[in-house]
Assembly symmetry: C2
Homo-oligomer: 133 residues x 2
DNA sequence: TTCTAATTAAGAATGATTATCCGAAAGAGG
DNA sequence: CCTCTTTCGGATAATCATTCTTAATTAGAA
């Protein structure tokens, strides 16, 4: 009973920490497979989810895209570039008050909320400008 | 050039309006197929997406679940019950100001944002209470 | 060292969605 | 009305992300 600390498990969490920017399971797999070619994709998925359960990683469910895994555990928001798809953290405090507000109006026992912002990142703004608007 | 107003297209939009509570493509298909058995699932998907493009429907991308289609066009938020999975509208005004705030801090050209709240719905709170705790 | 439950690799299976194919039907123009 | 062009529909194959299955392997307790 309990979780076994396998090599694969160590490689998975190390990869998420190395890749930093919320890698997808696919990206984690690609990272590991270069130095440990025997790992299988199912193992990566299983370990990612088990690490989320244990509380060592966060899962970010991205609408219309693969799930992403985050080694930053504090609650925070994300922003997605509508042009290049880049997916980044937003550095703002968590809005506790809107949970309270919604709890009152909906009578739900509120847990938390996610916000995904969407817009064009600075880099893509440049590129689009050069292509003539 | 231009969209043809086919029977299938009419059935799709009518079904979304009848079903009201952001049906999935599957639910729309099931609704239509009872009175028009020849319709194919691909056609439902194609028309749903085309209606979204035209601006007659909204698509709600649900994390870890099938996309949902909404005939209410005003921007609004959603809340998901962590117990039964119910997915509902939240009746609150759109928070314009946080887009501005994030635009300033990230230098993104902001488009919009989605908020998904999570908590236990009143119905499930009752059920959980009766089961002790 | 031995034992056993947890974990693995490989690949099949799943669920949601999109792509492909080809024939049908609708609108434009004669 | 008759063609021509284009869009659209139905059937089904393909894709993508993910989970499941199976038999073999392994970590860690005894």
């Amino acid at each position: 009973m309990g979780k076994r600390n396998t090599i694969q498990r160590q490689l998975v969490i190390a990869a998420v920490r190395t890749l930093e920017n919320h890698p997808t399971a696919e990206e984690v797999y690609n990272c590991i497979v270069t130095e440990y070619p025997d790992i299988s994709k199912g193992t990566v998925y299983r370990n990612l989810n088990s690490l989320v359960e244990t509380g060592l990683l966060n899962k970010v469910a991205v609408p219309n895209g693969a799930d992403r895994f985050d080694h930053i555990l504090a609650r925070h928001y994300h922003i997605e570039c509508t042009n290049c798809g880049a997916f980044s953290d937003v550095d703002t405090e968590y809005l506790e008050d809107i949970d309270l507000k919604i709890a009152n109006s909906t009578k739900y026992k509120m847990d938390n909320h996610d916000i995904v912002f969407r817009g064009v990142c600075p880099k893509c703004q440049e590129i689009l400008k050069q292509q003539g608007h």
